[in-house]
Symmetry: C2
Subunit: 425 residues, 2 copies
Amino acid sequence: MYKFVSLRHVLLVSLAINVGLLWRFTNEGNGSDANVRRKTNVIRSSSFTTGLISVDEVQPQEFISLQVGDPTMYTRFWREMGNKTTVVLSGDQHLSYISNVKNLCWFLEPKLESAITRLHQLVGNAVVDDRHIVVGTGSSQLYHAALYALSSLDASEPMSVVAAAPYYSSYPSMTDLLKSGLHKWDGDAHKFNKTKPYIEVVTSPNNPDGFIRKPVVNHENGRVVHDLAYYWPQYTPISSPVDHELVMFTVSKATGHAGMRIGWALVKDEEVAKKMVKYIELNSIGVSKDSQLRATKILQAVIDSYDHTSIPEEGETLFEFGFNLMAERWKKLRTVVKQNPIFSLPNYSPGLCSFSGRTFEPQPAFAWLKCEGQIEDCESFLRSHKILTRGGEKFGVSTKHVRISMVDEDNTFDLFAERLSTIRQ
Amino acid sequence: MYKFVSLRHVLLVSLAINVGLLWRFTNEGNGSDANVRRKTNVIRSSSFTTGLISVDEVQPQEFISLQVGDPTMYTRFWREMGNKTTVVLSGDQHLSYISNVKNLCWFLEPKLESAITRLHQLVGNAVVDDRHIVVGTGSSQLYHAALYALSSLDASEPMSVVAAAPYYSSYPSMTDLLKSGLHKWDGDAHKFNKTKPYIEVVTSPNNPDGFIRKPVVNHENGRVVHDLAYYWPQYTPISSPVDHELVMFTVSKATGHAGMRIGWALVKDEEVAKKMVKYIELNSIGVSKDSQLRATKILQAVIDSYDHTSIPEEGETLFEFGFNLMAERWKKLRTVVKQNPIFSLPNYSPGLCSFSGRTFEPQPAFAWLKCEGQIEDCESFLRSHKILTRGGEKFGVSTKHVRISMVDEDNTFDLFAERLSTIRQ
């Protein structure tokens, strides 16, 4: 039962690409924000690529927003872990800029480096031997650092940056944010036919559509950045440890801690790693040590939970929790979509996951929904049914598609599935 | 007594502008790094603007480095505060990207916003009414955000960015990091005579020389960014609350917590604030919430310590601690320099501090030392005496000057003063 009696906040917010407008509705008489969050009456509504828009000017109240991949579904898991992952930071910690002067990445906390290495060894999703680990303020900062590092600093014209459509909707604006002379967005990699040096960004599993990807250009003068934010066993079968020149991960999608802003890159070439470090030095003089220590504790807890040969006493392990919840949500969504001819979803081939031993179909963090038939603008169509999504044109493809977050809180997802099931053309 | 018996680490690190090479020497047989830090046998040696250099290839052991403004002198104060500023973060905190959807700066934690406001009201160093607060990953990220926000996005050529020499050594390379089409470094503001739009960066008190500054260009088509990292009562008399278009502060120099990477801007114009928020969204999707909460606790403790009408029971207040330590160090340094005709220091006029009620001469976070007579390259001269500093040419002026950190640990400063006193030409 979802009732929306009082509008608690009329909320304004500019959320340029990855984060949008957000409304919050609560039951009448609910207490603090913390209480509200723990109940089932919070609805997120996030939207719009730029600008500050007054919610009540644009939309009535009962919108559900699934535009942003805000990974709040993991809150329940971490709450159930109790104080196992509590971090205590005293006032005299972290006065120095420096974490580890012995490391090329001097602002990387040694314990985080060790946790990242052990996590990849446990999951088997990336080769870590002989790699330089570069920590970033989320993988967004690492994306900028990677473009800087792979660009030629003395080239006469900016290097082309491409990705196969549909590509992550923020890449174009991130790439061209400062109208850099080093690099510029050059669109869909499928259409790239220049012979000059370029950078191809490969997101795998892909955001928005969840497919496993490889580079598509494959010229000899290309460099490749692999964004592997979603290459974790709750979303897709782990087939083998990736072994590429430059790969990026983030806690945001691995453990759900998006508010920490911690990502990392695994980099083969020392010169590339040095340039990435230089970018981060000049952009923000390193990365929050507080969040690095929290991320360490969180990753360590994930690793430790798999050290037990017996079933853990309390709750599931992170990847089991994530896998089961994603499986349940995808089952529910596919059931709804199957019964509604207006919509369709991609079909994925099952694969064997070397981590879990399971064979399963990918269950991505986003649903890439298509409106069938006469509906040309799927985002507008769903908005008219009070579901806010992100339209395909932002990902370089047709407006018949939308991207929908599958990692929001339970009540938001449940309400979305319920509402979708009632839509008729 | 300083003895250096064993080289503990041969350290490599690339520290592009603000952070350099660092050696650590410890007494034989000392324990963990933590123990080492608490004893008096740690010497910092940081240097070099780019590149990875093996320490033992370049320098022998007993170098003292004061090139970086690593504010570790504050560690003692915060240690003595004990658990008053301890922060406990549970595993289920900070899963969302979003801090406060009601705020233009949606990634700013509301409690931090409140603490920043109260701190400025207490100290009286900046007008906070009717300002937008934008939080950043240190003031470095805010500098980039400010340039982005004040540039014209559709101009035919990049906007000139200038600062009066001597200027902060990182501004040129930060400004030109991505060879932006929006802005480019155009050198000393004193020499700027173009009539086109420009941005002037005013650092006050100035880094490196500690003087209070005003804009020098003053054309009608100029925009001004005020970097007020050092406008705190331990360094300079607070004359009045600044009331400018865009001012930036950072915890790094206010409380010493450089490893947190938390800075903030106070911005008059809503459109400028929105563009800064957009830059930070696209650069790193916000700012670590963990560090924002720690910064809140730290600022709150500073504020609370001044709420008591009686003398605080334990230790001094932050600004008293900082004031007294800076006063002591400057007294010591001036005594040494007075007795040594090779060197000179700037003379500052005393001023009344509205915060403390004291009249005192500025006692900056950096000493701007000049080598007199025939010594043309002061940095090299001091390096030959095993003192590592940053030479004037990096600040856009003569090599007869060097910048020396006054905010390092006690033993490092003491050793530096001792060594300086023994230098003869």
